[in-house]
């Protein structure tokens, strides 16, 4: 309204959310702050705001992920967007419709935004280069999963009141983890101290420059931490030769009430889910309840609402003018 002084705008997070590389503390904070507002929408009688009314979001999921797909779907629907789920079967992929043909078709159908989940690292950026609509990376290969990291940050901020200065241990298969990569970028932007805890076989080479400290032993790695983030271990890692067996992994890196009590009694435990009980997190009675998984799920919806709102809330021609974090700068 013209009577009021112009509202200050949140910083633009781009036309796309492909990576958290180059994402500043200011931008991350604005996303988390917006998510705070959207948390309330879930408590309204009508759990919906009309902010994306008339817009269409396509969930393009090449990997099955009920969790992430439903979260994006609910988020978009609470914003009143129309949502279409496209889950190309593996057969149609191998039969040859290429990713670039698929996304161009989706765009031609009138999509305003695409959330893509794909097994290939770089797939989200690949899509963003080929369409004019907004693209959200819903997890690409071993590269990034930005909205998961943002919801982890949101959970941490809710539980601990801040992120800056906290010690966060990320435990598990760092090598193949897009969740870890996005979290490392976002947590370091927010000023957290990050420790990676993993056997050498599950750590990538070439991470000397990362803002992390490396630990191979769980007890030392989580000692005194404020947050312990357990990563999901793909069960085929054992057959791939990365670890000798799941039970050995569980005994060396599995989180239990006892280990936490002794080494990180104040820690909030996060897990991107779904949990392999008895592998990353011990299956003992009651312990799973202490893990913030269900909070993470709820917060995930509001964080994704915030992301979709910030990307798609404006008019398309304006969004196209917003500058995106340059890929060449290190994503």
């Amino acid at each position: 309204m013209p009577e009021r002084s112009l509202p200050s705008s949140p910083p633009s997070i781009g036309p796309h959310l492909l990576s958290l590389s180059g994402m500043t503390k200011e931008k991350i904070t604005s996303i988390l702050d917006a998510a705070e507002t959207f948390l309330d929408v879930g408590h309204q009688t009508v759990k919906k705001v009309p902010v994306l009314r008339g817009k269409t979001l396509v969930n393009l999921f090449y990997e099955s992920s009920t969790r992430t797909r439903s979260s994006f779907e609910i988020a978009a629907k609470r914003l009143s967007a129309d949502v279409i789920n496209v889950t190309p079967s593996q057969s149609s992929v191998t039969k040859g419709e290429s990713l670039s043909d698929t996304v161009r078709t989706i765009e031609a159908l009138g999509a305003d935004g695409i959330v893509i989940r794909h097994a290939s690292s770089g797939a989200a950026a690949f899509v963003a280069e080929r369409v004019n609509c907004h693209v959200v990376n819903g997890g690409d290969g071993c590269h990034e999963h930005p909205t998961q990291a943002l919801l982890d940050l949101f959970t941490i901020r809710k539980k601990k009141g801040r992120i800056d200065g906290l010690s966060v241990a990320i435990v598990g298969d760092i090598l193949h983890s897009r969740v870890a990569r996005s979290n490392i970028l976002a947590l370091s932007a927010m000023g957290a101290r990050i420790r990676l805890v993993a056997p050498p076989t599950l750590l990538p080479r070439g991470i000397e420059g990362w803002p992390v400290t490396i630990h191979h032993r769980l007890d030392r790695g989580i000692e005194g931490c404020d947050v312990v983030m357990a990563l999901r271990l793909q069960l085929e890692r054992a057959s791939g030769g990365y670890i000798p067996s799941l039970s050995e992994y569980a005994s060396l890196y599995g989180l239990s009430a006892r280990v936490l009590e002794r080494h990180a009694p104040e820690a909030v435990v996060l897990h991107p889910g779904p949990v392999n009980r008895g592998v990353e997190i011990s299956g003992e009675e009651g312990f799973l309840n202490e893990v913030a998984i269900l909070d993470q799920v709820e917060f995930g919806v509001s964080v994704r609402m915030a992301v979709l709102y910030l990307l798609m809330g404006g008019r398309p021609e304006e969004a196209a003018l917003l500058s995106m974090p340059a890929r060449g700068e290190g994503s």
């Binding site: 290939s120 690292s121 770089g122 690949f126 690409d140 290969g141 071993c142 990569r181 991470i207």
Partner: protein
């Protein structure tokens, strides 16, 4: 191409430059009679075609030890015709073409078919490389005798390494019968795992599966040990790592009969290029770290690396326009190789004479191929170079059928003005 009836040609106003013959003379003309360099004082027959060299450098034509012309089987990527045009435009007068066609060049019929096509096209000299094993499957030796007889000049399962140390031993031993090299794509496949780019800081950040340097080094070490056992001539293809250069250098010191090549991309780019060029910077071996790039240059300087080859590997746009891990390995290189290599001279790493040796005399020598010479009676396979001419790679297009190159758009200094094979002009740049 009809070698017997070479052409007549008069090239005026050139700087004759043939370091292997110790020739460097400015302001000269060169007369070619029936595909051979004429003796001084020969009279110019009436009707002899002429080109004005405009003061450019006239040198022996380039010899590429490693290219993929994709015919038969993958004509949508490249053909003998389009590959030959690309080669001619890049100053190459002889090109060795790899066996991983479909069907594989593991029998004399395919070899003859390739040579027939090359003859029909009639641009550059094409030398087929036969497969080491039938179908490149690594199980049984191909009929090297028949292949050799039909015109294969070397053997390789390129695209993949020779399967086992035992198979390599047999191949090296048996190829001694024909005096022809076994070329190995040195890679330990299980160690490469499902890697798609160099393993290092960039792969860690992009979340792409890495191919470690050790993958090349382990394989070279195996090959060298087998070479010592079996004898024969081993040629290591597309050397890319510091460790690989070190291993070859050390083997040469022990007088093992190993030769090697590298490609322009390994001394021009590092794995950082993957960030901006995507699948156009995806090849195997992958672009490595800066240390490796410098080690490759050091290997070129000290002669450990014998030749600059292109590993010209065309792929269609729809194949490269895919997710990084799904796209095939390989980039085209024939049309950019000279200009990129000239940067080594401009940067002071090697002399122009050394560059000419790396692109022409030395590769021809190690594979026993005919090559151009400015000496009277020499084969008139020549290239006319404009060292100062600037151009932009890939603009307006490539002569290759494919355009998968990370160098597209790069401003290059130094270009090929004309290419002459057996006294016939097979390429001449359009000039105002």
């Amino acid at each position: 191409m009809k070698e017997a009836s070479g052409g007549n040609l008069l090239v005026r106003n050139v700087h004759l430059f043939d370091p292997s013959e110790g020739i460097s003379k400015e302001g000269e003309s060169l007369l070619v009679l029936e595909g051979r360099v004429a003796s001084p004082g020969s009279s110019v027959p009436a009707g002899t075609p002429e080109i004005d060299g405009r003061g450019g450098l006239l040198c022996p034509g380039f010899v590429d030890l490693h290219a993929h012309f994709r015919e038969p089987g993958f004509e949508y990527k490249e053909t003998v015709a389009s590959g030959s045009r690309a080669a001619a435009a890049g100053g190459f007068t002889s090109v060795c073409v790899m066996a991983n066609t479909n069907p594989v060049n593991d029998n004399a019929a395919i070899t003859r078919a390739i040579l027939d096509r090359a003859r029909e096209v009639g641009l550059v000299r094409v030398f087929p490389i036969g497969a080491v094993t039938r179908g490149l499957e690594g199980a049984e030796l191909s009929e090297m005798g028949a292949l050799s007889e039909a015109g294969c000049i070397a053997f390789s399962d390129d695209g993949r390494p020779v399967s086992t140390a035992l198979m390599l031993r047999r191949a090296l031993e048996y190829s001694r019968l024909f005096g022809k090299p076994v070329i190995d794509h040195c890679e330990d496949m299980p160690l490469s795992n499902r890697g798609v780019m160099n393993e290092g800081t960039v792969s860690a950040e992009l979340g792409l599966a890495g191919i470690p340097n050790a993958s090349e080094e382990v394989s070279i070490a195996r090959d060298l040990a087998v070479l010592e056992l079996a004898g024969g001539h081993l040629h290591v293809a597309h050397l890319s790592t510091a460790g690989g250069v070190r291993l070859v250098r050390e083997a040469r010191r022990r007088h093992l009969r190993v030769t090697t090549e590298t490609c322009p991309h390994y001394f021009s780019l590092t794995d950082e290029a993957v960030r901006c060029h995507g699948t156009h910077a995806k090849m195997n071996p992958p672009l490595r770290r800066e240390e490796d790039r410098l080690a490759v240059i050091a290997g070129i300087r000290d002669g450990t690396i014998d030749a600059i080859a292109t590993d010209h590997a065309p792929h269609a746009p729809h194949e490269k326009e895919q997710e990084f891990d799904r796209a095939p390995f390989g980039i085209i290189g024939l049309e950019t190789a000279f200009s990129l290599s000239l940067e080594l001279v401009r940067d002071g790493h090697i002399t122009l004479s050394e560059l000419m040796t790396l692109l022409s005399a030395r590769p021809a020598e190690i594979f026993g191929l005919p090559h151009g010479s400015l000496h009277p009676g020499g084969l008139a396979d020549l290239v006319l170079l404009d060292l100062e001419g600037e151009w932009e790679a890939g603009r307006p297009g490539y002569r290759s059928k494919s355009r998968n190159s990370p160098f597209t758009g790069r401003t290059m200094k130094g270009r090929v003005a004309a290419t002459i094979v057996g006294g016939r002009v097979v390429f001449e740049e359009s000039r105002p």
